[in-house]
Symmetry: C2
Subunit: 361 residues, 2 copies
């Protein structure tokens, strides 16, 4: 990768996507004197804190060209940006993370093959394109197993647990009869994640390993540091660094892992990569010297990475759907750091905000 000249305060960057991750990225950019233009198919929470907004389809090349002409770097807040959009922009200016890294992480089969290729363990898996290949995959991987769409899955959407005796045609239909992977079941103790940043210089800095608790397939709580052996934690950071280097990555990368076994047998299996800031890193806004959002902005602008020092033991709780209605109690709670995303309608499963609590270690 050729390195473009660093930005300076006063410069403008572009963010694809208008959700809460874009919102927190834009605020972190503003703190460093960087202006943001949001590009998205529809308005969202990020637009309220950005210098400008372009509402257009990801396929609208005239709008994309206008966007590219007005910014010095492009980044994105979610991984489902069409590959053609990323390629179109990357032909005009630096796009971080690079479109190849994006492509590698958009498809579960490609991602797992890439990970195994650099010596990083994943769940055993097989590609599934129809009921016949599902049947044959189950013979190898056994029951239970998890059937996941190769693309566009999030928060448990596009996946189903396949148990013995289940109607396989029904299971395949449940995920939309699209190309899938079947993943062998991993008997994990805990889900953890590493949120780290790689600079244009190749420098890598990660926050401490996060422990994540999901409810209804949605992240409910993150606790830092994760309960795990020191050696395993070091391995987790090393794996994230190896992945970022192999992808020639610039920006924040998030790697979700399963913690399996305990004691001597404790080890990690990578679940998936998110090529962006991550919900499990929201605690860094209040609990670390530099937030994941500022770290991403620093990385993509060619600024020095900030310190990842943690301020204490941290618990981040997502406010999902109706949880938001306790906002007044949370505001009154001493030491609770509340972040609301400015979304009007509290639909079930919708991430409305989060609250972080920091305790002395």
């Amino acid at each position: 990768m050729t390195t473009a000249p660093s930005l300076a305060p006063g410069d403008t960057i572009g963010i694809l996507g208008s959700g809460q991750l874009g919102r927190m990225l834009a605020m972190a950019a503003a703190r460093l004197g960087i202006r943001c233009i949001i590009y998205a198919p529809e308005s969202g929470p990020a637009c309220d804190v950005a210098a400008d907004t372009i509402i257009a389809a990801y396929e609208d090349e005239a709008a994309l060209a206008d966007f590219a002409a007005r910014v010095r770097r492009v980044t994105y807040e979610f991984e489902n940006v069409p590959a053609a959009t990323a390629a179109f922009l990357a032909s005009r200016l630096p796009v971080h993370p690079n479109p190849k890294a994006l492509a590698q992480t958009q498809d579960r089969a490609t991602e797992k093959t890439f990970l195994n290729g650099i010596g990083i363990p994943t769940a055993p898996f097989a590609e599934v394109n129809d009921v016949a290949s599902l049947t044959s995959a189950l013979k190898t991987l056994g029951y239970p197993a998890v059937l996941k769409t190769r693309r566009f899955g999030y928060d448990g959407k596009g996946q189903v647990m396949v148990k013995e005796g289940m109607d396989l045609a029904q299971a395949f239909a449940a995920v939309g009869s699209v190309p899938c992977v079947l993943e062998g079941f991993v008997p994990f103790l805990r889900e953890v994640s590493v949120v780290g940043a790689r600079a244009e210089t190749g420098a890598f800095a990660a926050f401490d390993v996060c422990e994540n608790v999901h409810e209804n397939h949605i992240l409910a709580r993150t606790v830092v540091p994760a309960a795990m052996g020191e050696e395993t934690a070091t391995k987790a950071l090393e794996m994230a660094s190896r992945i970022a280097r192999a992808l020639d990555y610039v920006g924040v990368i998030s790697v979700e892992m399963f913690l399996v076994g305990s004691g001597e047998d404790e080890h990690l299996v990578v679940n998936e990569i998110a090529p962006r800031v991550h919900n499990s890193g929201h605690w860094t806004l209040d609990g670390a010297a530099t937030s994941q959002f500022e770290q991403h902005i620093r990385a993509i602008c060619g600024f020095p990475l900030g310190s990842t020092r943690r301020h204490g033991r941290v618990v981040m709780q997502n406010l999902i759907g109706d949880d938001i209605h306790s906002w007044r109690e949370l505001m009154a709670e001493r030491g609770a750091c509340l972040h609301l995303y400015g979304k009007h309608e509290a639909r079930p499963g919708r991430k409305m905000g989060h609250v972080t609590r920091i305790f002395p270690e």
Copy 2:
């Protein structure tokens, strides 16, 4: 004052003024899910992080009416909003702080008279309207004394030190031959300030007393806590609370004071009131549980006030003019919290950003 119903996340407020104080207010509001519309005669750093901007003169009643119709509270980031503008808006919706408090603090003579009236000491002063009244005031107050315009002074603008033997006509001309006050010289040891917030309920919460060092009449550094006796510090907070109560104030109020004498003789003289967030409170962004900006938003929205707990000994340094050119070193400095205001041109005396460093106590 009648209390209007509290706001809720998702609501919109209006901010008069587009400078860096408005910028930091808008970002604090966004964090709580509150949208901001900036109203100002010209675009500025606040516009880059606000949901919308109205660029119009403070006298443009059609634009003001439009603004008032789109927001649920109005506040301001600087004290020189014309009284008629504040009154026009206050006839339509709650304006915090209230226009009367604004008027009391816009004029140095009115302000000092108000302060003395509630038992708070100021420098001895006399009104000056011409060279004759200046001559007579000097007979009472003695040399040296400080001649200040009654209105619109900031960062040392609109004031001159009057020393023995000086040409008085020239001194009066130097401040623009406008209505002034002459202030008797106060032989202070230190300049300190209290930044506190009063809620609609009457609750008051102040941050610890700040010690301020000026260079060329512009705030250079703030150190917290201020070096002063504990009893005097308590008195400082009590004075700020008394002032806020007397003004029926809602929002953040900042009171600049001179620390005079030492030991048994240590006491405070109020220099001036700023009816807004204050440069000497910028350290709260990184050094306190709640920032002064969030505290102001909480107060004006009818939310509970946040904790003012300090994280350590704090030093805030302003980046003025060319200071900004050290941004890359400051970004690389471990533990330095950098805030840049997104201003393009680094003119001499222009506040471009600030950096906060926190040390264990």
